[in-house]
Amino acid sequence: MSLVNIDNVHKYYGDNHVLKGVDLKIKAGEVISIIGRSGSGKSTLLRCINGLESYDKGGITVDQMEVTSDEEQIRKLSKSVGMVFQSFNLFPHLTVSQNITLAPKLVRKVSAEEADTLALQVLEKVGLKDKASSYPQELSGGQQQRVAIARSLAMQPKVLLCDEITSALDPELVGDVLNVLEELAAEGMTLVLVTHEMNFARDVGDRVIFMHQGKIWESGDAKEVFAAPKTPELQKFIDAVL
């Protein structure tokens, strides 16, 4: 059974039909890149996977749990699904270490000492062990985003959702964040990435999903999709971004 099962999902914002029957199965360990024009529904799809947005029709399961936007269910899902945002969303009043340990302590009931050890582990993974006691605003954008990744990892999720997490970064800081993702992929973490980094999608991703007008317009093996787009829409999109 797949780790993530998305079955004929529809989503409306008022009259705006944003997701028009999306089907997607994601196996454990897969790295999926979602590409497509702005407004095509990529973020909405991602946010439906962890219950941040509700959907109107169809079904989603993650790790055999049904996804609903009910608070209790989201709390349960948070142990399986992590999410990283374009705008980092670190907690500015907490240190890096406190940012990371808060949820494990409250939600997974990890002891304070265990949580601190865990924080150092995940910080080491993103190369920021020496920043544990810094505040977010003392870090560069790239470092903040790596802390955000570390914060998600501390919940030990089975799948990590990333919504354009390098889009707000200065170009010279993008590489560090992508390197972290590449390492996670190599370790077997399941990743779903909405991204504009086409090279990364092609080289690190297993599968590419091209979204267009609320549908999965085209999908397939990352290298093949980029080499030989089947639809004119994808061709046009690739020509525009590459």
Partner: protein
Amino acid sequence: MNEFTNWDIFQALILAARWTVVLSLIAFLGGASVGLLLTFLQISSRTALVRIARFYVELFQGTPLLMQLFLVFFGLSLLGIDVSPWTAAALALTLFSSAFLSEIWRGCIESLPKGQWEASRCLGLSYFEIMRHIILPQALKVAVAPTVGFSVQIVKGTALASIIGFVELTKAGTMLNNATFEPFKVFGMVALIYFLLCYPLSVASRHLERKLNVTG
């Protein structure tokens, strides 16, 4: 004909100013308690609760404090409830300041980026955990300066209580003026005492605003 020295007048005014301070404190504490409740109602997800709280806030923000004072003082008497000027003033000022404080605090909470909620929810925190650990600590920092700033409005607002016969600083000034016929001197002193009460609050508010902004 003047049997009052300047010092006599000043002393009498200072004594009366005690009641301005006490009334201000009561109005602030009462307003803060009711205001806190209203704030939580306003940001709750229950539409009915939000409507009730909004109506309350709009009502007390949209009518003069003097009318609120009259309505409480005379209105309750009409209903057969005998209220002293004390009670009426404390009650009206509480109603008034709770509306303004809750509006300030709602603004502070809503000024925090939506991403703070979203990231917290993704991490599995419950509504109360998010409030307790993420939203309130940040909102509190933003709220301190405007809250202290608003307390100046409360102090000045207590002057209206003189109209229903509550003897505080302004009322004492009126009475002393009637006895001395020296309005410029008496009300000059009254104004000076108000200024001495309010100015430190204004300075504190500005100082806090700068200080809390820097540390983020």
